[in-house]
Amino acid sequence: MTQTDLVRSELEPLVETIDVKTHFKTPRGIARAVDGVSIQIRRGQSLGVVGESGSGKTVLSRSIMGLLPRNGVIREGSVRYRGQEIGNCSDKEMQSIWGREMAMIFQDPMTSLNPVMKVGKQISESLRKNLGMSANEALAVAEKLLHDVRIPEPARRLNQYPHELSGGMRQRVMIAIAMACGPNMLFADEPTTALDVTVQAQILELLSEQKRDRNMSLLLVTHNLGVVAGYTDEIAVMYGGKVVEKAPTKTLFANTKMPYTEALLSSIPRLDQPSHSRLTTIPGRPPDLVNPPKGCRFAPRCAYVRDLCLNEEPELEQADSPDHTYRCFYPVGSPEYFERRVELTRKGELVASEGSN
């Protein structure tokens, strides 16, 4: 690889999806879990995908990695890895990518680790498969990995079973497994949700640090904007299978466009708030993926909804900066937005969303 290649490979996206659609056949009909999502992640970059349950964030990550079952699933659009189309690879072809190129961390380490297999083996097996190491080499490496993820007395852990470890340690083990073959792309699916608050931060620390050291790209799936805030370069907010706002983290927080994003933000616990204060939860339920509402999918729950929203679906709009896009007719900051705010405040309905009393 020449310098320039290297530079280019730095610039051009490592993973890119173009209008990816993932639909499930259900008895009730077609569920549009992911409905035309285009994202890009460059080498060493991290993208946070944020949304409520059922927003399609998990499905998106799995679609990219090609982990979804073959039958009963309709896939469209293209997924590119290093510029090559991998969207239509068979499981067999993906095997060469899984582990070595891409890896994934799951939400619940208890259910995601094989309960009847020793930790050491669970880590080493992918080393042996992908890097063709011998059993002993692999174990040695595994021990090192455990050490890297800060597990005390790694040597002993190798011969323990998952149920003998604490929740945090299990998650570290899973990270070790993911790291094992030095993947370029790491998917972390709600890596901290199942853990208690004290450990969450540590794990996220560990993740971003590993990412840095290994110059990995990271796709961090979570329902909690607060989580991604500190750890991602860019954030894509998903709702009802679509990306509704995408921007570099700072921009997103500073200059929120999408009312949904605003709502999410307002549901992050903030230190500058009196602890007794009540958090806003967004009224209503996420949209039905089988027959989604006509028009803007968030409209039914949107405080600033207008007729247009209910009838027409908004396209992706450019915000001030080119890397900031959103789907909304009346984004935060628009005249209509303020107009409606005033009404609401008068009715006193916005108190909650202001989070003050």
């Binding site: 569920a31 059922g54 499905v59 079952p69």
Partner: protein
């Protein structure tokens, strides 16, 4: 979590609950058999015991023909009508056995599940003891001790079903014994008998009853096995007995397979129907697999 449920493989997609065509087909077959079993004597069937010797055809067994649809056995007896009459003992035994098993085993199970304590320990141990004989061995042992008629054989097989049924009933009862509504009933000072009958039984009965068909299938097979070995009802026609008659001597089986195979067919279809229907019912009420 809801996310993963979306990514599920097809099996996971909830199939709307219905019993389905196959189920009714099986029910019809079993019903037909039952009907024949009950009304065999009034139906226009040949006598199952008469020897239809026919010098023109030479020495029996006679192959299936228009006059004998399933052919005749070595004694020139009509295999068709014998197969029909065979349903009698086989089904009666199967039915009586499982009924007895459910009455006794069920009661024991519910009581020990409800009262727990020493009653539970004793009956549970009894169940284990019963279960530590391989059932056929126990069946042979017992039937060899008794004068084998319809009732006694049924009871023996009933006894065999006590343990599995009992354990099941016990397990089911345990689930409910500490439920709110039971505790509530206690609060308002309802007697145990009342609680068992009014609160527990209805809840236990449904899943149990869905296993009755499976149990009956087992009993029918067991009876067949006993008859096949010569341990079933002495003076009577049973499928197992017919099969034994047709297969005892290699020559008979080789030259006149119909003697054994038609009864086998009847037995098979009946057991299959009972199993299938039972299985459907079980999934319908989604009850756990049983050791019956």
């Amino acid at each position: 979590m809801s996310n993963t449920s979306v990514t599920a493989a097809p099996e996971d997609i909830v199939v709307p609950k219905k019993l389905g065509f196959g189920f009714w087909l099986c029910v019809i077959w079993v019903g037909l058999m039952a009907f024949i079993a009950i009304f065999a004597s009034v139906l226009p069937l040949k006598s199952p015991t008469a020897n239809f010797l026919n010098s023109a055809q030479g020495r029996p067994p006679y192959a299936p023909s228009w006059s004998h649809w399933f052919g005749t056995d070595k004694d020139a007896r009509d295999v068709f009508s014998r197969s029909m009459y065979g349903a009698r003992i086989s089904l009666t035994v199967g039915f009586t056995a499982i009924t007895a098993g459910f009455l006794i085993g069920g009661t024991l199970g519910v009581i020990s599940g409800y009262y727990k304590g020493w009653i539970d320990r004793i009956s549970s141990f009894g169940f284990i003891v019963l279960l530590s004989f391989p059932s056929l061995v126990l069946a042979i042992l017992l039937t060899s001790l008794i004068d084998r008629n319809l009732l006694t054989v049924s009871l023996v097989l009933g006894l065999l079903s006590i343990a599995p049924v009992g354990r099941l009933a016990r397990a089911a009862t345990l689930q409910y014994a500490d439920r709110e509504f039971v505790l509530a009933a206690r609060q308002i000072g309802a007697t145990n008998r009342r609680i068992i009958i009014k609160e527990i039984l209805p809840n236990v009965a449904i899943p149990m009853s869905s296993l009755a068909l499976l149990g009956m299938a087992v009993a029918v097979v067991a009876e067949g096995g006993l008859a096949f070995l010569g341990f079933s009802v002495q003076k009577g026609i049973t499928w197992g007995g017919l099969i034994q008659l047709g297969s005892d001597a290699s020559k008979t089986l080789q030259n006149a397979p119909w003697i054994a195979f038609f009864p086998i067919l009847m037995l098979f279809l009946t057991v299959l129907s009972l199993n299938f229907a039972g299985d459907r019912l079980r999934t319908f009420f989604d009850v756990k697999e049983t050791t019956l």
